[in-house]
Assembly symmetry: C2
Homo-oligomer: 341 residues x 2
Amino acid sequence: MISSTGTKGFVRLEHGAGGLAGWELFSELILPALDNPALAEQGDAAVVEAGGLRLAFTTDTFVVSPLFFPGGDAGCLAVNGTVNDLAMCGAQPLCLSAGLVMEEGLSLDVLERVLSSMGRAARNAGTCVVTGDTKVVQKGAADRLFVNTSGIGVVAKNADLSPAGAKPGDRLLVSGPLGEHGAAVLAAREGLEIGGGLSSDTAALNGLVQALLDSACRIHALRDPTRGGLAAAINEIAWRSGAAVRIFESAVPVSPAVAGTCEILGIDPLVLASEGRMAMFVHGQDGEKALEVMKGHALGRDAAIIGRVEQGPPGRVVLETAVGGERLLPMPSGHPLPRIC
Amino acid sequence: MISSTGTKGFVRLEHGAGGLAGWELFSELILPALDNPALAEQGDAAVVEAGGLRLAFTTDTFVVSPLFFPGGDAGCLAVNGTVNDLAMCGAQPLCLSAGLVMEEGLSLDVLERVLSSMGRAARNAGTCVVTGDTKVVQKGAADRLFVNTSGIGVVAKNADLSPAGAKPGDRLLVSGPLGEHGAAVLAAREGLEIGGGLSSDTAALNGLVQALLDSACRIHALRDPTRGGLAAAINEIAWRSGAAVRIFESAVPVSPAVAGTCEILGIDPLVLASEGRMAMFVHGQDGEKALEVMKGHALGRDAAIIGRVEQGPPGRVVLETAVGGERLLPMPSGHPLPRIC
């Protein structure tokens, strides 16, 4: 995407959509510039050793528009997103940072609501924001408020997770219905009225991950399907693991409200962001047990086994449709859904 | 500043200028929302315990305009700034993160130059960017590129530094001429031609701090005089330490080019940002020795002893002028110099 333009070209919305263009930007430009093995791992967080501990370290900037949406706001979204990036490495959060870019003229009331929401979300996840930074830019130089959150976590001793960890025979689970965050933000932005209501699924998954680690299920890979949705998450893991993945479409939980929104907007729910769900590859013999553990947790009660790793070409992701047909589920490309998180 | 408006009011450029308004925003709104003791410490970085280590953790977003200026760019500025925040706690960097907000249409060539500069700066400081995030917003929703860098450092075992650590009798040193970064960015932005040239002082101070720690000088407090310049840095430490500080104006190193720029722009060099200098409070008996150590390091060869902690009202900062008069040096207020870093 970069080189195909002849010149180096320009940043496009697609580069931030969590799909193919972003992956190319990362591998062709960002990784060479910052070259090091930890970054090349491309986990949700990097894992570094210090003092005999494995520390997980992650960063995310949240540019969601609108700042407030059904079920959440930029503040809790940022905290939960960072806690989840740590959790996807099997880590409990140690502490968080907050970096705010504010547009001149932003209401202090809005700022206070977002920050209070951050504080509550951090407490709910058992952590806190210990350091921060505030920058103000002139009116028109930013859109209201951008929130960066970084986080340090301590990886559980028994966690052995990697985006390259999926293995033949693994079961693929998701912890709940997909796409609720993306649908809620899009509907709020477009002013859609959906019967039944839509609400972001934003939530901190570290408790659920801890329950799974405590259960001794052999978890191989975790990923939260944020930008680019389940399609991006599973393609990344399949590609990194050299695994062929089969997903049973009829098993994938999608709420009627999300399905309806997707129909109106012409979007596949499998590319819509969730911010409080995770996909998990677990040893084939542990699939049912892991499902039970998930269902026993408030954030996993609608969990489902939706697929498996099978024999086949490395990196292939196949969707088996309800009527028994099958199609490839590619890494999303194009379809920019900007500022969903 | 917040409550004095009657209503809660709006974010102003002043809130981001590193002076009084920013301090009020922090203490009246941000700290209550995110309330916890580590954040209340207000160090350049927070220090948290893990695995028997003291970890320093910091975050900074860089919204500097222009992105490229004499002596540096947003990329090396971000890395050096974060390394320095860790160094001010006596920590060597373990790893960094990079969170990019890009405006649709940003040249990929610009992006590559900034990222390559980040990579080089990180290598120079003995660290690397291990995790990152990229967001793209629509044209007009951000000004080209904002770079957040967070960092984890390991605090030296013998470091006992705190912004509340200055003690009576301490000597106050600076590691070199002040305000060169701020003057270079302002001149580049205003299109000023200054005889003799101006160049940002951006540099990573972790090596210099290590040399000082190795020397066993009894260092009590370090701060890099970034936004709000030396005036903000010293007022913060004086206030936090309950110390009265006397600064000898004639001893404060300011280059002729910076002095000239300040005259043209009507700005006090003591409120201009440096990005590769530090102020140090050291035990009164160790002042000369610390000065020698600084002068022996490439980044401290123009270091100077510029003041001391004396008996007097807690938090007072007095500037003794060349002709023997004295005036209070207040925490900067107003004077917004936006997007200097």
